[in-house]
């Protein structure tokens, strides 16, 4: 039901119109979207925590802006002299599929880090980092900023 309204509102906003024709068309498309989604994925119940979600979005935006500047410096050759890029294995606590998917989106959308591979058996994710200066600090940041909040939202 919630997905139906999100899709309908998205359609109306994209078309900048609340004409009856667009509402009908949007409702049809939203219904089709809901039916397809139901076949794709068994319902994943996220807890309703709008404040936490907003906080997470704010953190993600701040981190993305910060890493944009960091990567821009590296591209321009103004970064650290001894830059070492490499893979990082990160043991996770979060197991919820939707939470993992969100974490993958966040990490990949942040310039300088990229989600490479997830091992479900060991619950370890491999990440490629452009500037692997301080591994421990990066892991701490991820755990404190994202993993804890994602677990509160999804688990």
């Amino acid at each position: 039901m919630r997905l139906f309204f999100i899709l309908l509102v998205a359609w109306l906003v994209l078309n900048e119109s609340v004409a009856p024709g667009h509402i009908l068309l949007g409702a049809g498309l939203a219904l089709a979207g809901v039916l397809v989604y139901k076949r794709l994925e068994p319902a994943t119940h996220a807890r309703n925590r709008p404040m936490l979600v907003l906080q997470l979005v704010g953190l993600v935006i701040a981190d993305i802006v910060r890493s944009n500047f960091a990567v821009a410096r590296i591209v321009l050759g103004l970064g650290p002299m001894q830059r070492k890029a490499g893979f990082l294995s990160l043991p996770l606590e979060i197991r919820h599929p939707a939470g993992l998917a969100t974490a993958a989106c966040i990490i990949t959308a942040t310039p300088g880090t990229s989600w490479v591979r997830y091992d479900a058996a060991l619950n370890i994710v491999t990440i490629h980092v452009l500037d692997l200066a301080d591994e421990a600090a990066w892991i701490r940041l991820f755990k404190e900023h994202y993993e804890r909040r994602l677990m509160e939202i999804f688990e």
Partner: protein, 104 residues
């Protein structure tokens, strides 16, 4: 030119600059895995600045709030990682095959 349009112009240029730096990074980085990082600047903050400029410009021009760019930003953020992950997994798979012929 109104103040809003001037501000929007500055945001467009900054966004375009980030997209350019991303492309430059694609050229300058040496390995495949390093190369996937810089273009993310264009798809995140670069896109964000250009969308913000679009919102400011058209809100001022049409005298009503124009905000559907927020949706575009959201859709970009959710869809680009999928492409990146596919590319990285393909690269890893190829590497593993080259190493020992085993599957990832």
């Amino acid at each position: 030119m109104s103040a809003a349009s001037a501000f929007a112009a500055v945001l467009v240029i900054l966004g375009a600059l980030l997209a350019f730096l991303g492309s430059l990074g694609l050229l300058r980085m040496r390995t495949f895995y390093e190369r996937i990082h810089p273009p993310t600047m264009g798809t995140t903050l670069g896109t964000g600045l250009i969308l913000a400029a679009s919102m400011i410009h058209f809100t001022a021009l049409e005298g009503r709030p124009v905000v559907h760019e927020i949706l575009l930003g959201g859709l970009m953020t959710f869809t680009t990682p999928v492409t990146y992950m596919l590319l990285v997994r393909a690269a890893r798979r190829r590497e593993h095959h080259a190493d020992d012929g085993s599957d990832d």
